[in-house]
C-alpha cells in the first residue's frame, strides 16, 4: 500500500508539472488582462490536435512539432485578444470577457468536432509506450520528458518575467495598470503578447496531455474546470501559487484515485472549497487588489 502511495505521489508531481504549465498561462493572463480565459481548456485540446496532425500527416516528432505549434498558438492567442478582448471596456468587462472567452471556446470546440469528430484520440510515439524503472518505480518516458519540458518552459517564463525589460512591464501592468501606462508602458501591446504567451504554453501542455490521456473536443471542459480550481487555489495572478497548487492538487487526486477512482475528481473541487473557506484568496493570493 505504501508503495502505491509513493507511486501516486511521484505520478502526481510529474503530471502536476504539466498542469502547472497550463495553469501558469491562465494565471498570467488573469494577472495582466484581468480576465479568466475560459478558452484555456479547449486551447490545450487544440494544441493536442495540432501535434496530432503534425505527427500523423508529416511524421514530425511530438517534441520537434512544438517548434511549429507553440508559435502557431501564440499567433492564435494574439489574434483572439486583438479581435475580441481588446474592444471590451466598462464596468461589465469582467463578465463580458468571460462570456467572450467562453464563446471562443465554443467556436473552437465546434470546429474541432467538425474536423475530427467525437472519437477519442491519443498521441503516439516510441517514448509514450515505453517506460523506465527507477528506484523501484515504473515511469513512462513521456511523463519524464513532459515534466522536463514543463520545468524548462516555466523556467523560461520566469526568466522572461523577472530578467527582461518586457517582463518588467508585464509585472508593472499586473501591479497597477494606470501607473504602468503613466510610465510609458504600451498596455495594449503587453496585453496582446501576454495573452499570446499564455495561450502558446498550452501547445506544449496539450502535447503532453494528449500523449498521456485520450482526448476529444469535449475534453476541454474537464481541463478548464481543473485549471480554474488550480489557479484559484494558488491565488489568482500568482505564478508560484499556480505551480504549488497544480502539484498539490494533482498529487492529491492521484492518491485518492487509489481507493476511490470515481470520486477522485470531486476531491479536487472539495479541496478548493475547503481552502477557500479558510483563505478566500487562495494559497498565495493577495487581498483583492482590484476590488469591484
Amino acid at each position: 500500500m505504501a508503495r502505491e502511495i509513493y507511486q501516486a505521489i511521484v505520478d502526481g508531481i510529474l503530471v502536476g508539472g504539466v498542469y502547472a504549465l497550463m495553469a501558469v498561462g491562465l494565471t498570467l493572463i488573469f494577472g495582466v488582462l484581468d480576465i479568466i480565459n475560459i478558452a484555456q481548456g479547449i486551447m490545450v485540446i487544440l494544441g493536442a490536435y495540432l501535434s496530432y496532425e503534425l505527427a500523423a500527416r508529416f511524421h514530425i516528432d511530438l517534441f520537434l512539432g512544438l517548434l511549429v505549434t507553440v508559435p502557431a498558438m501564440f499567433v492564435i492567442g494574439v489574434v483572439i485578444q486583438w479581435a475580441f478582448i481588446r474592444p471590451l471596456h466598462g464596468r461589465e468587462r469582467t463578465s463580458m470577457t468571460l462570456l467572450v472567452s467562453y464563446a471562443v471556446a465554443l467556436i473552437i470546440e465546434g470546429i474541432l468536432y467538425e474536423i475530427f469528430g467525437a472519437d477519442d484520440r491519443q498521441l503516439n510515439a516510441s517514448y509514450v509506450i515505453s517506460s523506465v524503472h527507477v528506484f523501484g518505480f515504473y515511469l513512462s518516458y513521456i511523463y519524464l520528458y513532459g515534466f522536463a519540458l514543463a520545468i524548462a518552459l516555466v523556467a523560461a517564463l520566469y526568466f522572461l518575467l523577472y530578467r527582461t525589460g518586457f517582463g518588467r512591464s508585464v509585472r508593472a501592468t499586473m501591479q497597477d495598470q494606470t501607473a504602468a501606462r503613466l510610465v510609458g508602458i504600451n498596455i495594449n501591446r503587453v496585453a496582446a503578447i501576454t495573452y499570446g504567451i499564455g495561450v502558446a504554453v498550452t501547445a506544449a501542455g496539450g502535447m503532453v496531455f494528449g500523449a498521456t490521456n485520450g482526448f476529444n473536443p469535449n475534453s476541454g471542459y474537464d481541463l478548464i474546470s481543473r485549471l480554474l480550481a488550480i489557479v484559484i487555489l494558488g491565488g489568482l495572478g500568482s505564478i508560484g501559487g499556480a505551480l504549488v497548487a497544480s502539484v498539490f492538487m494533482i498529487t492529491l487526486e492521484s492518491i485518492v484515485d487509489i481507493w476511490q477512482p470515481t470520486w477522485a475528481v470531486a476531491v479536487f473541487y472539495a479541496a478548493l472549497v475547503l481552502v477557500l473557506l479558510i483563505r478566500p484568496t487562495g494559497f498565495f493570493g493577495r487581498k483583492a487588489v482590484r476590488a469591484q
Partner: protein, 394 residues
C-alpha cells in the same frame, strides 16, 4: 480597468436615471398617460401569450413556445440574483438539474404516477432553495472572478454526483412518470405551466426591483463595501436573492423534466445551459426586468431552430459567433441601448443630456446642489444641464 467609483448607479434603467439626473422633464400627466399606455401594452402582450397555442396549434411551434417560456422564467430568475447584485453565476444549472432530479427521485421512490406528480413541484423549489443556502454561504464570500469560478466548480461537482450516485440513476438518468395526454395537445398544458412560471418570475423580478431589497442588491452591485458601510447586510441580501433565484430555477427544472420526460446528468447539468442563460440576460440588458425576457425570447427559439436544422456542431459554432456579436455590438444589452436610442430620437432638437459626460459630473445628480438651488423643479434642472452643455439660454 474599472470605471471611476461614485458614478450614478448603473443598475438604474435609463428612464430612472434621466429622472434622477433631472434630464428630460416630464409633466406628471404625461407620466400617468405613459403608465396606463404601458399597462395596456402589457395586458395585450399577456393576452397574446395566453392565446398563443390557439393561434398556432402546430405542435412544432408550441414546442418552441414552451421552451421559450421556460427560459423566460429562468433568465428572469437568474437576473434577480446575478443581474441585480452583479455576482455573475455560471452555476444555475445546479438548481435547474437539482429541481429536475428531486422530482424524478421523489416520483420514483414514492410511486407517484400520472398528473398527480404536478403536486410534487413545490418540492423541487424547496430543494433548489435548500441547495442555494450552502452554495451561497461558500461562494458569496468571494467576489468577481473567483465567485464565477466557484460557481463553475460547484456545477461540476453536481454533475459528477449525478453521474456517480446510485439514487440518480447514473449516466442513464431518470424517467418522468408517463402522462396520458394526446400528442396533438400535449404541449398546451405545459405551455400554460411554463407561462405561469414565466409571469411569476417576471412579476417577482419587477417587485424586487422596485423594493428596498432590490435597491440594496443594486447598491451591492455598485460598490459592496460602501453598501455595507451604509448598513446593508450584504451577505443576508445576496443570499436571499440567490435562494429566491434558485427556487424559481429549480421549479422550472421540474417543469422541463416533465416535459422532456427524462433527465440525464449531461442534460440536467449542462454547461451550455449556464452560458445560454447568461447570454440571454446580457443580450437583453443585465439588471433590467424586460431585458432577460427579450433575450430569452430571441435566443431560445433561435437556438432550438439551429439545433434542429443543422448538425450539432455547426449550431455550436453559430451560437458562439452570435455570442461574440452580441457582446461586441450591444455590450450593454438591447433594452438599455434601445431605450437610449428612442430617448435620443424623442428629445431630438430639445434639451438633452449631453452624451459622454459622466453622471457624477452632472450637477443635478448631487442632492447638495439641488437643495442649493432651492425649490428647483425638474424643468429648471434640465435648463441647468442645457447651460452646462455650452449653449446659451434663450
Amino acid at each position: 480597468m474599472s470605471e471611476p467609483k461614485g458614478a450614478v448607479p448603473t443598475g438604474l434603467t435609463s428612464e430612472e436615471r434621466a429622472r434622477r439626473e433631472g434630464g428630460a422633464s416630464r409633466a406628471p400627466g404625461g407620466e400617468r398617460g405613459k403608465q396606463s399606455l404601458r399597462l395596456v401594452g402589457l395586458v395585450a402582450l399577456l393576452a397574446v401569450a395566453v392565446a398563443f397555442p390557439a393561434i398556432f396549434p402546430n405542435p412544432v411551434v408550441t414546442n418552441y413556445a414552451v421552451y421559450a417560456m421556460m427560459f423566460v422564467a429562468i433568465a428572469s430568475a437568474w437576473n434577480i440574483f446575478s443581474g441585480f447584485s452583479g455576482y455573475i453565476s455560471l452555476g444555475h444549472a445546479v438548481f435547474f438539474g437539482s429541481g429536475a432530479y428531486a422530482l424524478g427521485v421523489a416520483a420514483r421512490d414514492w410511486h407517484v404516477t400520472g398528473t398527480a406528480v404536478f403536486a410534487l413541484m413545490p418540492l423541487s423549489a424547496v430543494v433548489g432553495a435548500l441547495i442555494a443556502v450552502p452554495f451561497g454561504v461558500i461562494a458569496l464570500r468571494v467576489r468577481r472572478h473567483t465567485f464565477i469560478v466557484i460557481t463553475i466548480a460547484v456545477f461540476f461537482i453536481f454533475q459528477l454526483m449525478a453521474f456517480n450516485f446510485s439514487f440518480t440513476g447514473g449516466s442513464t438518468g431518470l424517467d418522468a412518470p408517463f402522462l396520458p395526454w394526446s400528442p396533438q395537445t400535449y404541449n398546451n398544458p405545459f405551455y400554460y405551466i411554463a407561462l405561469g412560471c414565466a409571469v411569476g418570475a417576471i412579476v417577482l423580478a419587477w417587485l424586487i426591483r422596485r423594493s428596498r431589497f432590490g435597491l440594496q442588491l443594486r447598491a451591492i452591485k455598485d460598490d459592496e463595501d460602501r453598501a455595507r458601510g451604509l448598513g446593508v447586510h450584504a451577505m443576508r441580501v445576496k443570499l436571499s436573492a440567490l435562494v429566491l433565484s434558485a427556487a424559481v430555477t429549480a421549479l422550472v427544472g421540474a417543469v422541463w423534466f416533465f416535459y422532456l420526460t427524462q433527465v440525464q446528468p449531461q442534460t440536467g447539468f449542462d454547461p451550455l445551459f449556464d452560458l445560454l442563460v447568461v447570454l440571454m440576460a446580457f443580450l437583453g440588458g443585465l439588471g433590467t426586468v424586460a431585458g432577460p425576457v427579450l433575450g430569452a425570447l430571441i435566443i431560445e427559439p433561435g437556438q432550438l431552430y439551429l439545433t434542429a436544422n443543422t448538425n450539432g456542431y455547426i449550431s455550436e459554432i453559430l451560437l458562439g459567433g452570435l455570442f461574440l456579436v452580441a457582446v461586441l455590438l450591444v455590450p450593454r444589452g438591447i433594452i438599455p441601448t434601445g431605450g437610449e436610442y428612442i430617448r435620443r430620437l424623442a428629445t431630438r432638437g430639445r434639451a438633452a443630456i449631453p452624451e459622454g459626460v459622466p453622471a457624477s459630473q452632472r450637477a443635478p445628480a448631487s442632492p447638495g446642489l439641488r437643495s442649493d438651488a432651492g425649490a428647483t423643479k425638474e424643468g429648471d434642472a434640465s435648463k441647468g444641464a442645457w447651460r452646462r452643455a455650452g449653449e446659451t439660454l434663450p
